[in-house]
């Protein structure tokens, strides 16, 4: 399970070995903000994207302090070729292994993939790089993290060729976090407090799905609250039950 992503969504607690996670959602659904939040919460992160972020996405006031940012290294390989070259040589170029490998904008790199094998290679090289970092972190007894987690984000719009690669990506990213517009929240406008509401649903093998509500204020600030399922008449009991059910697995 992607503990860093859960951490970013406010679900604390250590999980089993991390599963590479793909964050999927339409344009402006907060994919970058979610990845950035995961990076801020972790010990050391490597953040990859095709180009520099215009501004820090979804940051809460007081959260984008320089100490948090110092733990994040940003690299911007502009093309698929550059990204592959970078991933294959990170063992030479990085001074120390990060505990979190983030890739924002996977769809832009997939657009340069000529076929399924190229898409598989990109995903496999990402997994292989995170796995290499995990080995290095394990070799360091004073290391602050037990493993390197991999989270990539991808824009889905329902019509691009890129999505043909989705079943291949799912081989390498067993956990998926889908972001979709929260239609229920859109109806109850008075509760929103912002202009956009999304639901984030995390699915992974061997665990119950989890869901969160993401809100984006007019200033772009992101807020997160868990969505409790099941016994709606007693949310507290439902949450305890969910936790117990999760612990058994």
């Amino acid at each position: 399970m992607s503990a860093a992503l859960q951490g970013a969504l406010g679900a604390a607690g250590p999980g089993p070995a991390p599963t590479p996670t793909l964050v999927l959602g339409p344009a402006r659904s907060g994919r970058s903000a979610l990845l950035f939040r995961a990076a801020l919460g972790g010990p050391r992160a490597l953040f990859l994207a095709p180009r520099a972020l215009q501004r820090l996405p979804g940051a809460r006031r007081g959260e984008s302090d320089p100490r948090g940012l110092q733990r994040i290294q940003f690299l911007y390989p502009p093309s698929l070729r550059e990204l592959l070259r970078l991933l294959a040589s990170l063992h030479q170029s990085l001074p120390g292994p990060p505990a979190l490998l983030l890739l924002d904008g996977l769809e832009q790199y997939l657009a340069g993939c000529p076929g399924p094998q190229a898409a598989a290679r990109l995903a496999a090289l990402l997994v292989d790089t995170a796995s290499y970092f995990t080995g290095r972190l394990g070799a360091d007894p004073q290391g602050s993290a037990p493993c390197c987690q991999l989270i990539a984000s991808m824009r889905v719009s329902g019509e691009t060729e890129v999505e043909d690669h989705l079943c291949i990506l799912q081989r390498y990213f067993p956990a998926q976090c889908w972001l979709c517009l929260d239609s229920a929240a859109a109806l109850g406008q008075e509760d929103c407090g912002g202009d956009r509401m999304f639901r984030a649903r995390l699915s992974q093998p061997g665990a119950a799905d989890q869901e969160w509500r993401l809100g984006f204020g007019l200033d772009g600030e992101m807020s997160v609250s868990p969505v409790l399922w099941g016994r709606a008449e007693d949310p507290g009991a439902a949450s305890d039950t969910d936790r117990a059910a999760g612990a058994e697995k």
Binding site: H91, Q92, A124, A130, A139
Partner: protein, 145 residues
């Protein structure tokens, strides 16, 4: 995070490893099970293991990758941490048609580990990076077709 196979395949490879450690050979019932689980790849993979075609390549900083010399004399690259091979069968039977679990090269990689038939090769960090990438040329990745 190591590459994972379905539990039944993992169990079988474990049994093969155990049997091989005890008797230096793989008993017939396990060979039969191997053919049942992996289909026609099983025999081809065993041939590759017999011919010591699998090499584990490591760099000083501990990055590793496998190369398998295919029956056609072509070198294929397999990643250590997840299932990926540069051969055409992986693209076709595994990725596209979902006919097979793995290609014969990945299975040979597993079997070589189980039977200790793997060659070892040390290269520089720079060389390992280019082995991870050299496949680009094979497929013409990123070039206009």
């Amino acid at each position: 995070m190591e590459a994972t196979l379905p539990a039944v395949a993992e169990e079988l490879l474990k049994e093969i490893k155990k049997a091989f450690q005890e008797t230096s050979h793989v008993p017939d019932d396990l060979l039969l099970a191997l053919k049942f689980v992996f289909g026609s790849s099983a025999v081809a993979a065993l041939d590759l293991v017999d011919q010591h075609s699998v090499t584990r390549i490591v760099s000083p900083r501990g990055r590793a990758v496998y190369q398998v010399l295919g029956s056609s004399g072509k070198l294929y690259t397999c990643y250590t941490s997840c299932h990926f091979c540069t051969c055409p069968a992986f693209a076709f039977s595994v990725l596209r048609k979902h006919d097979s679990l793995v290609c014969k090269h990945i299975l040979a990689m597993y079997l070589s580990q189980a039977t200790g038939a793997c060659q070892e090769l040390s290269v520089s960090d720079q060389q390992l990076a280019s082995i991870l990438l050299a496949e680009e040329k094979e497929e013409g990745l990123g070039t206009v077709r």
